[in-house]
């Protein structure tokens, strides 16, 4: 049999279901399917149900109180304040991380000395676990022994108590911005895929470096940037560990001791659950937050979808070009 007739035979068999119909497919994806139902959808549903009760986490029975937790949350200035803080955090972090990450990738894509070493250094902070990253910056911002106050002292400034008051929000921002290199690997991969002949054509048409970047590079890598905007936004909105660990207190007391400036949404949710035992109310907050994140993601997709440039078929385009 020739290869073609073999292939035809296979195709015919497949149509008849010889190569496995839905059965094989479902067998292979079953770990994820079962896992998603049990470990994601069911917990989400459970939280939704709790959010309609006044459960305190201990009582054997939960009382149905309808939408009260939601109306309470929506009329709670504390909830709005933490939502606003979380939004502010995202507005500060996302643009800097995306633009900075792209800028670094563009520089690392140039021919420079020690390029491999520099790439690893840029990426290094992004792989430091959040716990260690937060502890590191806590030491740098330490009032008495930290390098930041040490530098300030050289210029004659007084020591700043970074960990209390509004300044702790600055520390949180810095901890999060340290991971600016996280997107560099993906950006570099995308930059390698920008067809060289497009740049060639732009140069021949008299475009300068900036015009070539704006009209050729940026559109080509825009899908990657949109993907990063979305994942970074979701990542920043759900920030919790750095804010918790920047609390002046340790252990179980830490959550309620988080300074107000760092009381972002998940800190508030966690406190409502485990410090105040308001499980119903906290679950309502959790669901409101889930909806907010969903909404932000959809809006970003809609806005981004209009500006993002897709090649005819990105996967094939790369290989032929």
């Amino acid at each position: 049999m020739s290869t073609q007739s073999l292939a035809r035979d296979v195709r015919r068999r497949k149509r008849r279901g010889v190569t496995g119909g839905s059965g094989a497919f479902y067998a292979f994806i079953s770990p994820w399917l079962i896992g998603t139902v049990l470990l994601t959808l069911f917990p989400l549903g459970y939280a939704l149900w709790i959010s309609f009760t006044n459960w305190d986490g201990i009582a054997p029975n939960q009382n149905w109180i309808g939408l009260k937790n939601y109306t309470d949350a929506l009329s709670d200035p504390r909830m709005w304040a933490s939502l606003q803080r979380t939004g502010l955090l995202a507005l500060a972090i996302v643009p800097i991380t995306i633009c900075g990450g792209l800028g670094l990738a563009l520089l690392l894509n140039e021919k420079v000395h020690f390029r491999t070493g520099l790439r690893m250094l840029v990426y290094l902070p992004a792989i430091v676990p959040p716990v260690a990253a937060t502890l590191t910056w806590k030491l740098l911002f330490d009032r008495d022994s930290g390098a930041i106050n040490g530098v300030l002292a050289i210029f004659g400034a007084d020591a700043v108590s970074w960990m209390s008051g509004n300044t702790v929000f600055v520390v949180l921002l810095v901890v999060m911005l340290w991971g600016i290199g996280a997107g560099v690997l993906i950006n570099l991969a995308a930059l390698q895929d920008v067809p060289a002949e497009l740049h060639e054509a732009a140069r021949l048409d008299g475009a300068n470096a900036f015009m070539a970047f704006w009209h050729v590079t940026l559109p080509s890598i825009s899908p990657v940037l949109l993907f990063q905007v979305i994942t970074t936004t979701i990542g920043v909105l759900q920030t919790f560990v750095p804010a918790l660990l920047l609390s002046p207190a340790n252990g179980p007391a830490a959550i309620t001791a988080v300074p107000e400036a760092n009381r972002i949404f998940m800190v508030d949710v966690y406190a409502q659950y485990f410090a105040y035992s308001k499980y119903g109310y906290a679950s309502a907050m959790l669901w409101l937050f889930f909806l907010v994140i969903l909404l932000v993601t959809i809006i970003t997709f809609k806005i981004g979808g209009r500006t993002v440039f897709y090649a005819v078929d990105p996967s094939k385009e790369g290989k032929e070009g």
Partner: protein, 304 residues
């Protein structure tokens, strides 16, 4: 893509252009191409220095005496580096026991996630079934679902069935695979040629054998990427062990945040720094060794 050079092809592609540039001879142009970009280099060195200084400070703090930490003005560089701080950091709390817990949980979850994600990724890439499109949409939605949202209610449910305080939740999470890694595998498997399995099917090979003997060996870079990502994910995770485990069976991530305090409850910064260094080191070493495959895993999986 690799972290090393890949401009060579672009360079050669450029060469025909010299034909159009009549006046200057070929040599100076080629020289200007060969020249390294000094401005980019300087900016990168400054950025890298800023990004690396915190790591350096962590090391310096780990080598200081309590007196140096209390000095005014601050001590920049410890004169007699206290190397024994690293040993002390492993003794004031059962450091190695916590490290073993972290290693165990990260390895088990890493291995399970790597295998299950590959299975599911293969299913989405090479098999057909009713509702596949919808399910793939759900997978993408799960990629976008913030894990922290589901973690707290999952914890409440684990508490109900008595799994709090055990390592079973990590086994279950591992078996379920990770949406992001499933997506990586799916992208990788989808681009492989059809012929790979056609002959095997005619030979009567089962799907599982095709997956194990043909597809899995081909996906080595993705396997490494998946393992490193999930291993580091568990090693670095704070909230899940904090919620689910106890003082005596928790992981290093939780232990180092509470373990280095004096009798008054104030942090002992030099030991804390030393503990943090020891905690980060395995992650950095692992990344250093696998970075090539890791990067390839990204690049070959259409994560771009």
């Amino acid at each position: 893509m690799t972290l090393t050079d890949h401009r060579t092809q672009t360079e050669t592609d450029h060469r025909p252009q010299t034909e159009y540039q009549a006046a200057p001879p070929e040599v100076p142009i080629r020289q200007s191409r060969e020249r390294k970009n000094q401005v980019a280099f300087v900016i990168l060195v400054v950025v890298c220095a800023i990004l690396f200084l915190p790591v350096l400070w962590l090391f310096l703090t780990a080598l200081k005496t309590p007196q140096q930490l209390a000095s005014d003005p601050i001590t920049w560089i410890p004169t007699q580096p206290q190397v024994q701080n690293f040993i002390e950091a492993t003794m004031v709390l059962p450091f190695w026991a916590y490290a073993a817990n972290s290693l165990f949980l990260s390895t088990v979850t890493g291995v399970l996630t790597t295998i299950s994600s590959a299975l599911v990724g293969y299913g989405f890439a090479r098999l057909h079934g009713k509702g596949k499109k919808v399910l793939f949409g759900i997978l993408i939605a799960m990629m976008m679902t913030p894990p922290i949202i589901t973690l707290i209610p999952t914890y409440l449910l684990f508490a109900k069935v008595g799994l709090v305080g055990t390592y079973w939740p990590w086994v279950l999470w591992g078996m379920a695979g990770a949406p992001y890694l499933i997506f990586l595998y799916r992208q990788f498997f989808a681009q492989l040629p059809r012929e790979l399995e056609e002959a095997a099917i005619l030979d009567g090979c089962g799907r599982l054998r095709i997956f194990l003997q043909i597809f899995l060996p081909l996906s080595k870079p993705v396997v490494i990427t998946a393992f490193v990502l999930s291993f580091n994910g568990v090693w670095g995770d704070f909230i899940a062990p904090q919620l689910l485990l106890n003082q005596d069976n928790t992981t290093l991530a939780v232990a180092i945040t509470t373990g280095y305090v004096n009798s008054q409850g104030f942090p002992v910064n030099n030991l804390l720094a030393a503990g943090a260094v020891l905690y980060v080191l395995p992650v950095l070493i692992m990344f250093f060794f696998v970075q090539r495959s890791y990067v390839n895993g990204f690049a070959t999986s259409g994560m771009k």
